[in-house]
Symmetry: C2
Subunit: 320 residues, 2 copies
Amino acid sequence: MAGMKDVARFANVGIGTVSRVVNGSGYVSDEVRDRVNKVIASLNYTPNHSAQSLKTQKTKMVGLFVPTINHPFFAAIAQQIESMLDKNGYKLMLICSQDKVEKENGIIKLVAQNRMDGAIFFTHQEHKDISPKYSIVALDRHLGENIPCIASDNYESTQKALDYLLSRGCKKIGYIGGKPGVESEVSERLRAYRDTVAGLGMGERIIYEPIAHGTEAVYAEKFLKLYGECDGVFVSGDVLAIKLYSAAIRSGRRVPEDLKIISFDGVMGNWMDTPVFTTVRQNLCKLSEAIVEQLINKIEKRDYLQRVIVPCDFIIGETT
Amino acid sequence: MAGMKDVARFANVGIGTVSRVVNGSGYVSDEVRDRVNKVIASLNYTPNHSAQSLKTQKTKMVGLFVPTINHPFFAAIAQQIESMLDKNGYKLMLICSQDKVEKENGIIKLVAQNRMDGAIFFTHQEHKDISPKYSIVALDRHLGENIPCIASDNYESTQKALDYLLSRGCKKIGYIGGKPGVESEVSERLRAYRDTVAGLGMGERIIYEPIAHGTEAVYAEKFLKLYGECDGVFVSGDVLAIKLYSAAIRSGRRVPEDLKIISFDGVMGNWMDTPVFTTVRQNLCKLSEAIVEQLINKIEKRDYLQRVIVPCDFIIGETT
DNA sequence: CTGTTAGCGCCTTCAG
DNA sequence: CTGAAGGCGCTAACAG
């Protein structure tokens, strides 16, 4: 493998000159630059990234921590994030924590080890004492001082969805959603639900428990059994919504005639299309943009925002 | 950030000794090892990965190239691969090529740059002249000599699926699937279809064109329009199968009474469940295992297989 | 404008 | 069993 000194030798220049033309830094005469570039091409030279990192203390790599990538929401946003990072010259290291705390804690080590410049955290776990010196941002979670949190406008969007359900004539509206293992912006959805139904005397019908990915169907059934009288339901999450829909149909209900369903997330559209859900769609593009922007701001020592809220889109489908 | 020499100084030992206890290599007296470990803990020392890589020429990192991660099949297998790699002490760098050739070509550079020890290739593009000295394995694709190819037993599984359709009484069986941009094991499915229907005088009903992710519905409609008389269809891919199912229902057909559908891949189960498809399920676990095993064999200079074929499972659902 | 030099943090002989 | 020394490939500061 050709190294810088090989290039220098063949081009009859010093090693520093080669570095300058490779990095486009400092002054190099056109004539010399040309010569060096030719040698680089002919030798098929590429700078060794480990050496660069060692020297500069930068890896141009960002870690993405998700519970699992095999979930429509995480897959969709990971895609966007990878693309945003790429635009900014960063690579993505994917880590599926599978909700294992040890694996999530590895993150700290990974940035301490200088394997990545920063990390993005999608987690259900508790994380205390993340040193603010590390560049970390979180989706939906407040991990601590100086850890930027990016989230959708969960409260307002949920409110809007519920208002829509009301305007469609619903009298008994339920809520079903997973309970995060940790304080999270997602709980704003439940707060909006409570605030909204409270003044209406329609009573609360809530399922709010930890729901592992893969077990959604169980809770969907449970909801129908507990709150069979509902004529509308706000579902926090696409997968759950689909399971609820199926369960409702199986139980002989008609959607939307007997039961209106609104889901949150809105990422299933590409993968299936029966039915088209009415949904609060998180703006994954804007979300990723904000995530990557704040993260890189922090990595590159620029000012960054502690909190960014991104508005959702409300999409009317066939389930209301 | 504490470095090795800090540890050495505090522990009153040489820097080499520290290295030895960190790596568990060479001889160190228990007494000294203890002392060093204590200092390491108290200083919160972690070896700098860039330095290690520079020295050892190993990054313990593997690249995964997929067209997009926002697709049930890729998301599902990426999850498995990440897990297998983790077990083997490797990290995963995710690159979504979005079918951009330039981005895919970056791979070569990435391993040349020493950013990763090897790579896994899921691609629709052509790739010539990948030097066999790089550690690369491919799913479903023959990228060249010394590039291991891992694939499902596409031919046999398709044959089995078609036999099942026949046994269920189908008289006019169609085939719909995306055409890879490059020679691929996936085309074995079509070959099996042709071989099977050939001797039966039922005529070929085939859609086999490049189908971009996101445009599946178009081709589903097209299939029904072209081959409305079909009573059975083999669909190469879950997403396509779902779109075809929806289109069939919309057109007034009953599934399975009027049209029986078998899909290939079998990864949608977790994400939706209406209906449960009869499907040839690729064994993602075994596939990932084989991929990672051959890749690491090659990276670590052990013998490796040029080709591994993994059997699929045939799952009978409600669409036949 | 260009060559030389001194490390970045670690691993690995090589003497002791 | 342990310490010292050289160098992995590159960048950045410093003389020319």
